[in-house]
Symmetry: C2
Subunit: 230 residues, 2 copies
């Protein structure tokens, strides 16, 4: 298998977590969404991947797009360990939580939308970030409420991670990146931390990917007084 | 079963089609998304439906949100006729097409987003409609390309409707409503027409729902010369 990914893509992050939870290995093929106007928009990428998006999972001859469709595929072909419960009502609850993130929060805050706000609507950085935080706040409040007061299980739906947690963790990473206030969502914060303590989640994190662009380490003699922070 | 729906919600429209294709009957409970600030935001609605969205399907004690999660549930509990193929790769292709609509096109163009553009960003009707048409055009082009040149089957994936068609038809209805140019997507237009010729799709259409708000019929003596069109 080959996974076409970008380190900061939260949809790719979901698939990376799912692969890790199932103990599957896919070759990591980086696709830079910013360089040269976006490598995902080049004809050689789009020819066989007409949605022009990452992630894409190639499994033999199959070329599969859309993170949740990819994860359902992995679940069907490699059922252990399961990422969905067995009961249909419980499966629907997990999928509904995941799809709330994938359909109601994330689409409003991804790169191409933020670019439209900047370039076509000439929004200032401040108003763009207001947009971002508005949808995050509305969305996380609904998710927190949907888990119920006094939610007691370690993960979103029980004692092991499901598709819901797989979608939650990248969304929370984005919220932190845009410095959203998270104190109103104590259940989500607790579950996110429990997930990130697991190797399957930790190793899927953006900064652990081969194409991650991290600030350079401090030069010799810098870094002791904080003056070298970038 | 009870379906909480709004006639113009395209996510509810998807569930209505799926119920019809499976020959299932659910009591129709209208939730007006505009009246009094939105009935879906009232405490009595949100108490048991914290996402505060339609559609919601209640099946006995189960309260299920998110249209694609609801349809997957119906598929699992009432497998005939199937809305997904049996092969995992084909299932992933159908789900990927459906999720492209549900995650990449529709979320940018729903009511709460258009309202934010109008009220928070003070966009004119013209610029709001540009936004709308931009995402429709980008999205439909990707969908048309993903089906491939010379696409020959009657529906998106074969000789009977699947989850892909269920998502396509409401999206095309929205595109027509906002007067998007559709001549560039002949395959999508053809499939949309084939679907709408089926009773399961026709009866799920917004204008056929009990809460539809249609222009009043022409008064006696009007309507012959076109002068009474509203």
């Amino acid at each position: 298998m080959r996974l076409f990914s970008y380190w900061r893509s939260s949809a790719a992050y979901r698939v990376r977590i799912a692969l890790n939870l199932k103990g599957l290995v896919a070759e990591y093929v980086p696709v830079h969404l910013l360089r040269d106007g976006g490598e995902h928009l080049r004809p050689e990428f789009r020819e066989t991947r007409p949605q022009g998006l990452v992630p894409v999972l190639e499994d033999g001859q199959a070329v599969l797009g859309q993170s949740l469709a990819i994860i359902e595929y992995l679940e069907e072909v490699h059922p252990q360990p399961p990422l969905l419960p067995s009961d249909p009502v419980e499966r629907a609850r997990v999928r509904g939580f995941a799809q709330y993130i994938a359909c109601e929060i994330h689409p409003l805050n991804n790169l191409r939308v933020l670019r439209y706000l900047e370039r076509e609507l000439n929004l200032s950085d401040e108003r763009r970030d207001e947009w971002y935080r508005h949808w995050i706040a509305q969305g996380l409040a609904a998710l927190e409420a949907s888990l119920g007061a006094g939610h007691a299980t370690e993960f979103c739906f029980g004692a092991r991670p499901t598709l819901a947690d797989i979608c939650l963790v990248p969304q929370m990473a984005n919220a932190r990146r845009f410095r959203c206030e998270l104190s109103g969502y104590p259940t989500l914060v607790r579950i996110d931390e429990a997930c990130r303590a697991l190797p399957a989640f930790a190793e899927a994190a953006p900064e652990r990917q081969p194409d991650a662009e991290l600030p350079p380490p401090p030069a010799v003699g810098e870094g002791q007084d904080g003056g070298a922070e970038r």
